[in-house]
Amino acid sequence: MNLARVLALAQREWREILRDRIYFLLAFLLPVMLMLVFGYGMSQDIENIAFAVVDEDHTPLSRDYAHHFIESRYFSFKGYLPDADAADRLLAQRKLRLVIVIGPRFAEQLRAGRAAQVQTLIDGTFATSTRTIQAYVEAINLAANTSVRSGYLARRLGLPPERVADLLHPVVLEVRYLYNQEVRSIWSVAPGLIMLILMLVPPLLMALSVVREKETGAIYNVYSSTITRAEFLVGKLLPSVTISCINAVILWLLATLYFGTPFKGSLAFFGVATLLYILCTTALGLLISLLVRTQQAAMIISLVMSIIVSIQFSGLITPVSALSGGNYAIAHAFPAMYYNEVVKGAFLKAIGFEALWPQLLVFALYALAVFMLCYLLFRKRTRT
């Protein structure tokens, strides 16, 4: 390995990137744009849900019940509706996501100690957010139920309210949220996006930079010179990895400063892990570049691979543990899944080398294996 040649190659590449406007924008603008757009697009802090109430009872008790929803910070009250037909229409028009229909004898039934019927109509078009809304409704209903029951029992049995509460809650579930006490979606999305973007951009840049040389014929300078295969591969990787490292810093700053995600872990650990992960993803791009001839093909293959792997098989949205057999295996075949554990650990869980060293080992071996594969595939004397 002759360092002078590696540096010559790397430095030339670096200069080209800095001076080629389109490539420069791609290298540094694309990651930032993805971070912002995905940050807003994928965070699922579901709030301000437009809802209305159909109160067929018109009693203080029914209004009380409605108020449980109206006061919730998750919901945004749009008013009372005359009947269920109006509710249907507004749901169909997507003016509302949720309608609470309080049955006609609501107060009467409750006062008689019977079950009162309430219907909640939810627009289930978007399954993911609907699930969360359902959980909100359930929680509010539970609270309302408890307050109705305790009032009733306190009156009936003449017991002090706290005693009634004890009776009604034999088991109190004390929930403690770990890592993300306020359950903010962006806190889990932003670190995940670092994983996604570093899976997406480095292979793309790497693959394009090699294939571009193939297309123009500049690759012949390399083929016909005395530079060795390993030197070429390293010289090509270096600038690309450098760019991605700079991007990693920018992304980290965006995640912490712009989106306000806490970073609880060790920067040293995160830095090492990120560097190794970038090596892996860049090497994947190098591998793609050796297999295709046109920039168009390089782009399609690297994008399709990156998007599928990082969104579906990384644990970004669906935990890997919930994946079925084949998908579970695919997830383990790419570095994204391991890095997702790293970002979660470093940002939210405050864990580092002691717990996540196996991931580092995976990255190191992975990068080495892909690099070796590239070395074996790369020919300075080609067939075509």
Binding site: N2, A4, R5, L7, A8, L9, R12, R15, E16, R19, D20, T216, G217, A218, Y220, N221, V222, Y223, S224, S225, T226, I227, R379, K380, R381, T382, R383, T384
Partner: protein
């Protein structure tokens, strides 16, 4: 051949190729090629696109594997990647495509430095070599200019410098001169010769230009993966004995037809007819021509040494008697010379186009009448294409006006566009559509009915020799056929004005001749006005009239023969000097009042006003300096000489008539 070269020839060859075969999938690109290159020589591979030149050169440079045969460089068998690596340190390779292997964002100096660092050239040596090479190539004052802002000639020189920076013993240059203006080309050959001579290096160079043959010490003519003929240029010319006759006759089309019944190679060159009379001497040839023409009046006739292209086609015919035959359809009826001049079909008046700061076309004016073939001759970047784009209405001019049939193209409506045919650069057909699909597409675009489309399709297939290729995709056709398909598509609506942008680039000589034949018929029989651009200097002779373009402007505009006559009047006739050592002779001549003396392989060309006295003077002068003079003789002027003359005049600040 000089003494040093003779000694070198005794050594083992530097490059030995035997039975070399290269296949891409099922297609054989190179079929059993054998050749040897000796130390110190410039060896040429001449042939059209697809002849197999690039494959052979890449294999020599150790960047392409091959399928059969032996390849020995510096005595090392290139039979594996490892073996190829062993020769790369002593070898320089410049791939095809002008400057494409350079880095557009880097400056001249950064490009050179990169190549040097890649080759581990020590810093001190690099500094020294860089200065020298920059000085020789006159690039020194542009050293910090980004490569993307260089002209074609400068890119070519920079690529050469980058290839030479590690002082290789063998340099492999793949089409280094394609598309470069003749002045830069002359420069290039001189620089190459000087550097090779100084370093004792060897070069393997390919080119698509037949007229560059004389630049080489030895060469091989390649076509379709085979070597047709190889040897020294003068030997190749002698290989097929015969004489070339140029003549001008009444009823050119009929004269052509009659001559064809006697001679195998007859073609129209503008108003002239060029006949290659194989196996005949000048007297016999002229006699037979007179007999063949019978009652057609002969205006002028003279004999010259045959062109290499004549030899190329003759060699081809020795292997395949049908090669290069003109199809019967080409023979024209006598009565069709109806190309009456009815005003200007195409007119450019002060046409100017700026791209930002850069003026691509500068006040260009010319007229083309019906039935006339008008040529725009110039290098890549001279402004030819921009000119055509303005005349076809694709690009609005910054100033001036271009009109077709008297209508300003800026406001060209449907009706005028219906009368224009256009073949853009590199025959921009739909390469992924078949022959029939392409023709039908253009028929549809021009609003032909189904019946008309069928007729035109049959015409295109017949006229272009495309029968049998109907369902091949255009991209899989050989260049010659592709070009005729492009022409067929451009003619599908029977336009009266035809624009052709470099229609013959990369096409083999036979295909080019057939193509010009079609153009000739279109102009003479159908009265179509044709504007054609080319960077092949030799092709310019096919035009009735031509304009030389340089740096966006027209430097001369007249019939080819007239241009030559003017140059002879202004600067004298062309002398060819064979002297040894040739570089020393050249230097001497250049300092002795012939600054434009140019190197052609082992010969020197220069223009002298009084050729006979000048010849004697020069012989004495060279002999006085201890230079052996083998021969001094006159040669006919080529279009390249004309071009170079006008451009040098312009560059020296002279005024043009």
């Amino acid at each position: 051949m000089g003494q040093a070269a003779l000694v070198a020839a005794a050594e083992a060859p530097l490059l030995r190729v035997a039975g070399f075969v290269k296949r891409y999938g099922r297609r054989s690109a190179v079929k059993e090629v054998s050749l040897e290159v000796r130390r110190g020589e410039i060896y040429g591979l001449i042939g059209p696109d697809g002849a197999g030149k690039s494959s052979l050169m890449k294999a020599v440079a150790g960047v392409l594997s091959f399928d059969a045969g032996r390849l020995e460089v510096f005595g090392i068998q290139l039979d594996s990647e490892a073996a190829a690596e062993r020769v790369k340190g002593r070898l320089g390779f410049m791939p095809q495509g002008l400057g494409l292997n350079l880095y557009p964002e880097l400056s001249i100096e950064e490009n050179i430095d990169f190549f040097a660092r890649l080759r581990l050239v020590p810093a001190a040596e690099l500094a020294q070599r860089k200065e020298r090479l920059l000085a020789i190539t006159r690039l020194a004052r542009f050293r910090s200019r980004a490569m993307k802002h260089l002209s074609g000639g400068m890119k070519q020189k920079l690529a050469l410098v980058c290839t030479l920076i590690h002082e290789p013993e063998l340099i492999v240059l793949d089409e280094p001169t394609t598309g470069v203006d003749p002045v830069s080309r002359r420069d290039f050959w001189l620089i190459l010769s000087e550097i090779l001579h100084e370093r004792g290096a060897t070069a393997l160079v390919s080119t698509a230009y037949m007229d560059e043959a004389s630049r080489f010490h030895r060469l091989a003519l390649m076509l379709d993966g085979r070597i047709l003929a190889a040897g020294r240029p003068q030997d190749l010319r002698r290989r097929v004995p015969g004489v070339a006759v140029q003549l001008r006759a009444e009823h050119q089309a009929e004269a052509l037809a009659r001559l064809r019944s006697v001679f195998a190679q007859v073609q129209a060159l503008g108003a002239w007819i060029h006949v290659f009379a194989q196996d005949r001497d000048a007297t016999a040839a002229e006699r037979e021509i007179r007999a063949a023409l019978a009652d057609i009046a002969l205006h002028e006739m003279f004999s010259t040494e045959p062109e290499l292209e004549d030899v190329f086609i003759a060699s081809l015919r020795q292997q395949d008697p049908h090669a290069g035959a003109m199809s019967a359809a080409v023979q024209a009826p006598l009565a069709a010379m109806a190309a009456a001049a009815d005003g200007n079909a195409i007119a450019a008046r002060g046409l100017t186009r700026d791209f930002g700061e850069f003026r691509a076309v500068d006040r260009v004016s010319f007229n083309v009448s019906r039935g006339e073939i008008f040529g725009l001759l110039g290098a890549n970047g001279a402004g030819k294409t921009t000119c055509i784009k303005m005349l076809t209405g694709i690009l609005p001019p910054s100033a001036g006006e271009g009109s077709v049939g008297g209508i300003d193209m800026r406001h060209a409506g449907r009706a005028i566009k219906q009368r224009i045919g256009y073949v853009s650069q590199a025959f921009s057909l739909y390469t992924d559509l078949t022959v029939v699909e392409n023709v039908r597409l253009f028929a549809g675009i021009y609003g032909l009915t189904r019946r008309e489309a069928g007729e035109r399709l049959a015409w295109t297939l017949d006229n272009g020799g495309l029968a049998g290729y109907e369902n091949e995709t255009a991209g899989s056709l050989p260049m010659g056929l592709r070009q005729r398909l492009a022409l067929g598509c451009a003619l599908v609506h029977r336009p009266q004005v035809l624009f052709l942008d470099e229609p013959t680039s990369g096409v083999d000589p036979v295909g080019r001749r057939q193509f010009w034949e079609i153009l000739f018929r279109l102009s003479r029989i159908d009265g179509v006005a044709i504007l054609v651009t080319t960077h092949y200097m030799s092709e310019a002779e096919h035009c009735d009239r031509l304009a030389l373009m340089y740096a966006g402007g027209i430097v001369a505009d007249a019939a080819p023969a007239e241009l030559k006559r003017r140059v002879t009047e202004e600067a004298g006739s062309l002398l060819e000097i064979s002297a040894s050592p040739v570089l020393q002779a050249l230097a001497l001549l250049r300092s002795a009042g012939y600054p434009d003396a140019a190197l052609f392989g082992e010969h020197i060309h220069l223009l002298a006003r009084d050729p006979d006295t000048a010849g004697t003077q020069l012989r004495q002068m060279l002999a006085g300096a201890g230079i052996a003079v083998a021969h001094i003789g006159r040669r006919p002027l080529s279009m390249e000489d004309v071009f170079v003359h006008y451009v040098t005049l312009l560059e020296r600040g002279g005024t043009l008539q």
